[in-house]
Symmetry: C2
Subunit: 240 residues, 2 copies
């Protein structure tokens, strides 16, 4: 495995980040907000079920079964399907719309803002998330995420791991794939990015699904970088 | 004319800015850089001719005569056509590429960063420029423009004043046109935005084309806001 001690010589010209789970704690943020609003609801179950609907919902767009639909809309469709099961079938339209915007209000992991701020001092940094532009913008504004540019797969009208998303980011910046580093807490996202020539960095987020469901964060030898968190990634890339 | 003394009650949820001429001083920046690099060249003439090629170049895309081409490429095509006339026909590929990136290095007007920073404290702010994403991102990073999100017409694969650009920004943020304010130093840009239901603010930039060619900055009664500069716009919108 290549690590900080044995890193590739190449330095990226652009670093793009997965966001949900990598930069922000979707599970903890949703559990917290749902628990506060609806104390009797199984907030952990709702958070996990909402997120579990994410890949199947995007699959309809990926397969071409439906045209482009932004993630805010998919999140809402999944939520509407789940509410009765969690005793919330009686929520009004306004309450549903507001609850759906919890994805705009996700809290960053404790190291994210400081780590990104350090990386930004040398590199151009942007999200490359399936979250839509408005979602990522509201999230960044609230959480203080210091992106140089908010890049969403909405720009390419395709969801990761569609090649148009990774290569679209590369091409928009007039770069070669090998000049772009993708950082994510998900090996499948990194595998896809790497298959199109991008460099990859894995970020450990063992509690992405909550303390009750630890995630396997075993390093993969395929990633040139492997970091405990974004601060540790900055240590490696800045050589500090 | 409605001014700060007589402003509309509606407050925008999103403010989008034209960039070239409105937020940054393209003429002064290009003249400065060209003068420094090539002291014998008519820098004022080159800057004006380069910018004069801008509308005709975009017209090929607008008319459908050619597919989507980002502005970096159009700027380069115009530049290549102009260089011999300015005694620079012998520039190498690397020199041309670097000179073309002067558009990534434009300096803001003196009030821009402070004015945008104040506006950002209450509103979501973004460029809505024909400049491409990489250009606007590099410019913002260098100049410290505090955008919440870098919105380029590249996202909509169309150049202003195509309706898809104004309405694309509105729709991406899940808003109604009347909730978005377009700010620009160009009445034609504002006229187009207004025709699609956006609110408009004119920003005076009398020296956009240099001190030798003052621009008419007469207020138009069609714009709910008219400001001497971005600081003055912030005064009006923040009520200070």
């Amino acid at each position: 495995m290549m690590t900080g001690m044995n890193m590739p010589a190449a330095q990226p010209r652009l670093i793009v980040f997965d966001v949900f789970g990598t930069v922000v704690d979707w599970h903890g943020s949703i559990v917290k907000e749902v628990s506060e609003r609806f104390p009797s609801v199984d907030a952990n179950g709702l958070a996990l079920a909402w997120r579990a609907g994410y890949q199947p919902a995007m699959q309809g767009v990926r397969s071409g079964a439906r045209g482009w639909v932004r993630l805010d809309v998919l999140h809402r469709e999944i939520l509407d399907g789940l509410l009765p099961r969690f005793g919330l079938g009686g929520l009004s339209e306004a309450e549903r719309a507001d609850l759906n915007r919890v994805w705009h209000r996700l809290d960053p992991w404790p190291d994210s803002v400081a780590g990104l701020t350090r990386l930004r001092s040398r590199f151009t940094i942007a999200p490359l998330s399936n979250g839509n532009l408005a979602l990522l913008t509201a999230m960044a504004k609230r959480a203080g995420l210091p992106w140089d540019c908010v890049l969403s797969t909405e720009v390419f009208q395709a969801y990761k791991p569609d090649p148009r998303t990774y290569l679209g980011a590369v091409e928009a910046f007039g770069l070669q794939p090998g000049e772009v580093l993708m950082a994510a807490a998900h090996q499948d996202d990194l595998d896809a990015a790497r298959s199109h020539g991008l460099m990859t960095a894995y970020v450990e987020r063992p509690w992405e699904f909550g303390r009750q469901r630890p995630k396997d964060v075993t390093p993969s030898p395929d990633n040139p970088w492997h970091a405990r968190d974004i601060g540790h990634l900055a240590d490696q890339l800045l050589g500090t």
